[in-house]
């Protein structure tokens, strides 16, 4: 049975037994190069679920809202299960309200990999043993793994998830194709001045559409600090200082929550490398608090607990 079929079967069981009210998964997008989040509510609709290399969204972003109307099942890749762990630990959702359908895939397509294709002519995108097959009117072309997959997938070890109710896919530990923190290492070679100049350039592009925040499961606040319009904390202008303040504050707020799912960067219409910030922060969190977001249910949430011996350095 394919992973997709297996997923559909499990979803049907969950829905017909009444264990959950809705299964959040992926459905066909408006074009074969895209999939789209769907909310499956009946066993019949479960046949709309798909699982293929285009299934990129981090669906855990919907959980805090979705659990309000009853128990939910959600399709989550290994990096995204970590978001659920943090959401549970930070009391945004109850563990018993969420059935975690953990799916270990070979990897998710990065959009740039399709640059050479006529996207109107792409009929299907599927996994092959050695990469991703793109089906067009000319037949299949296989893009090799290191070109096809998103960076986060290339460094994924498919480690056992801290929580999972249903597991689909190949969970055998695998050797990562890339070092997860390679780009942070590159970045660390810059001087403090160069770093500042680098981010100043990046943030100058930001149009404050907040797609990064909205796509992020860690950004669950009912009212974000930039949105307060009674007492204004952060200006809504897109000047260098304001953008800097927005991003730095958001990064502080996602410390210990950012699992490196990469959705902020993918959602950003201006091509700002937001994951780099997240990864740098997660290294800092590891160094200072000895924990990695979402890796265990036992570690205290970085933001949710205070100890008198908490380190208090001022990172660059």
């Amino acid at each position: 049975m394919s992973m997709e079929q297996e997923l559909r079967e499990k979803a049907k069981e969950l829905l017909s037994s009444g264990k959950v009210k809705v299964v959040i998964g992926y459905g066909e997008g408006s074009i074969p190069i895209k999939s789209t989040p769907i909310f499956v509510k009946t066993p019949e609709q479960a046949d709309c679920l798909v699982l293929n290399p285009t299934c990129t969204n981090n669906l855990t972003v919907y959980l805090p809202q979705a659990v309000k109307s009853g128990p939910v099942a959600v399709v989550a890749k290994p990096c995204e299960v970590k978001n659920i762990v943090e959401l549970v630990k930070e009391n945004q959702i109850k563990r018993e309200d969420v059935t975690v359908i953990a799916v270990s895939t070979p990897g998710i397509l990065n959009d740039a990999a399709l640059a050479e294709f006529d996207l109107l002519d792409v009929k299907k995108i599927s996994w092959k043993a050695d990469g991703v097959a793109v089906t067009t009117s000319q037949g299949d072309t296989v893009i090799p793994r290191d070109a096809a997959f998103q960076k986060k997938c290339l460094s994924c070890t498919a480690a056992q998830p801290a929580i999972a109710d249903i597991k689909i896919g190949d969970w055998a530990e695998r050797a990562p194709l890339q070092d997860k923190f390679a780009d942070v290492e590159e970045y660390e070679k810059l001087s403090a001045e160069e770093k500042r100049a680098f981010w100043a350039g990046q943030f100058s592009k930001c149009i404050r559409c907040y797609a990064c925040r909205q796509a992020c499961p860690g950004c669950y606040c009912n009212e974000c600090f930039v949105d307060k319009n009674g007492q204004i904390w952060a200006s809504k202008d897109t000047g260098a200082e304001s953008n800097w303040f927005f991003h730095m504050t958001r990064m502080m707020h996602t410390a210990g929550r950012c699992t490196g799912c990469g959705e902020c960067e993918r959602a950003c219409p201006m091509g700002i490398p937001l994951s780099l910030m997240g990864k740098k922060m997660s290294l800092l969190v590891k160094e200072l608090f000895g924990t990695q977001p979402g890796e265990s249910m036992e570690d205290a949430p970085v933001f949710g607990c205070y100890q008198t011996n908490d380190p208090d350095p001022c990172p660059e």
Partner: protein, 276 residues
């Protein structure tokens, strides 16, 4: 002079009246003499008032152009700008962009009996039309004012009640939600007081403004009394910024409350999507 429509005129606060514990009426005079002398407006129009350093907020012009030389606006304390306004003293400078929006079709009200039905701060837009009509007393039939608030202390414009009462052919009906010591007028909600007073819809116009829940029942009761939707007018409140149909936030369907409103007849309202 500026042709940038977002730059306000400077005006000096000449007088501040404390209406209630959370509402003050400000009288302001434009600094620029030429602008002041040429400035005119119609009942129902509104303005954007700036407190520099805090921002701009929307208030109706509660004064009337028949009493020229100044403008007035009544402000209920809510958030930043309204709080900042409440903190001002006489002599302070504010910015004003006015007049904005449409107005009551007062020409078509001529010869009719008028029923003003206001609740709380909702009396502010009605006051402009009311004083306009009183200043052109002969143009209109009877003028009737039903004005209610939570308590006696919540009624605005108390200093004008005598003037209103004593105008020819003018009736002032006051009501508060609950009994209070020393209160001799009606007790009860505005919509039910309206039913007690039973205005005759023939040749009459009703103009209402107040909290949404009050408006809802006043409209229903007016219909019940026989007022047609064309005989009923109200002013709408939406979140506003530009006030000139550009910033896109005050639309109800294809209409912009800041330019196609804020005054609507009930007949017009019924043609709009329910998104206000």
């Amino acid at each position: 002079m500026s042709n940038n429509p977002y730059v306000p005129q400077l005006a000096v606060i000449e007088k501040i009246t404390e209406e209630t514990w959370d509402t003050k009426t400000f009288r302001a005079v434009f600094v620029d003499e030429e602008f002041r002398n040429n400035f005119t407006y119609k009942p129902g129009q509104f303005q954007e008032v700036s407190v520099f350093g805090t921002g701009e907020a929307t208030f109706c012009l509660t004064s009337t152009a028949t009493r020229p030389g100044y403008i007035e606006f009544s402000v209920k304390r809510f958030g930043c700008v309204t709080k900042a306004l409440h903190g001002l003293s006489e002599g302070a400078t504010v910015g004003v962009r006015a007049p904005l929006g449409n107005c009551f079709p007062y020409e078509s009200f001529k010869g009719k009996d008028l029923w003003f039905i206001g609740g709380g701060i909702g009396m502010a837009p009605l006051r402009s039309l009311l004083n306009f009509c009183l200043d052109n007393r002969d143009d209109y039939g009877t003028v009737n004012i039903i004005y209610g608030a939570r308590s006696a202390g919540d009624l605005c414009f108390k200093s004008e009640f005598d003037e209103w009462k004593n105008s020819p052919n003018t009736n002032l009906y006051l009501t508060i939600d609950r009994e209070e010591e020393g209160w001799t007028e009606n007790v009860g909600f505005v919509p039910s007081y309206l039913m007690d007073l039973k205005p005759n819809p023939e040749g009459a116009i009703a103009i209402t403004c107040g909290p949404p829940i009050m408006i809802k029942f006043v409209l229903k009761n007016l219909n019940e009394l026989g007022f047609t939707d064309e005989q009923i007018y109200t002013t709408l409140e939406m979140r506003m910024k530009c006030g000139i149909g550009k910033c896109g936030r005050c639309n109800i369907g294809q209409y912009y409350v800041c330019t196609d409103g804020p005054v609507f007849s009930n007949a017009q309202l019924k043609g709009l999507p329910l998104e206000y």
